[in-house]
Amino acid sequence: MPDAPPALPKLEREVMERMWELGQTSARAVVEAVNADPSRSPRAYTTVLTIMQRLEAKGLLERTRGPRFDLYEPVISRAEYVRARADAEVDEIVAEYGELALVQFARHAAALDPERREALRRLAGG
């Protein structure tokens, strides 16, 4: 997975959390895990399966065909996902809101003229 994994909406994140807990598993087992919390209204099997297919399309789950049912497995670990998301977040903020959203040291500027570039390099060289 060379590109940063996408940010996940609430329900996709919830299913992914259960997948990271369970490892390789069936959609039926994920539905049971998602509905284990009695304080929330239960999710339908088809809802969870659709979410899992969406996660597979996003490259976060891998599906293995089985004789009776398919098995799904996370492509990256939770720690890898969190780290990759954190790495991508700053770039995404700049892409979405512009460089001025961050008061950052090195903003994009027009190409320098050769005289100033040389002067800067001389100054940098001490």
Binding site: A4, F105, A106, R107, L120, L123, A124
Partner: protein
Amino acid sequence: MIGAAAVRRLELALAGLVATAALLALVVIVDVLRFHAPAILGGEGVTLDRHTVALALLLAVDAVVGVRAGRSLARQAAAQRRLRRLAVRELRTVGRHTVAIVGGSQPRAFCAGLVRPRVCVTEPALTRLTTGELQAVVEHEVCHARRRDPLRLAIAQIAADGFGFRGLPARQAAVADLAADAAAVAALGSPQPLAAAMVRLREPAPERIDHLLGRPLPVPPRTVSACALTVLGGLVALAVALALLPNDPALPLLLLPPLAVPALLAVRAAR
């Protein structure tokens, strides 16, 4: 290096533009609310004169500005929410300051947060910069935090989106960078580490190089500041008079011509 007085004059020129536009909008709103609301809202037995029609048009412009500024504000708030949620990997002491180390694919150092700005450095920047360069960059960003530049830039962006002053945020950022560069050079006693960091991270805007090289910068003369302050004072007086006087004083017609003189002088001197 640029002095505090020159930075103030540069910032006054930018803030003066925003404040003038905002005060003009306020004058229109106060005038409408106090003396022309029934006519504009179509009350019975009220005749529309030219003054009222002009005010109604200006009020429509104010409404457009308000909607655009509101959208910009929502966008700024969303960006700030995301910046607040950035995961901090560790806190590290650089020189006399504590900085937050965050993830990122690019080497970056930045200052984020409107109320309590903090300095963040991405992990790639730590590996790219030498100790001295990192110190220079952090001193630069700490100056942004001290000046609350994220807040200033957010206001500049909202004003720019509302009134259509497209170049304003970039100019505000440029002035802030000059002040922060001056602080970094003063803290390290030499422009060399800062220049080296610029070479290593990304080429800066030309005026920052001219500044490091001690070349003169186009700072507006004191007459511009004086003229800008005169215009702002006049507009404040106008808004207060409209809010307090019992009858419509028709002050805009009386005061705007004298205010136009210093405004024109300021524009001419700033060229």
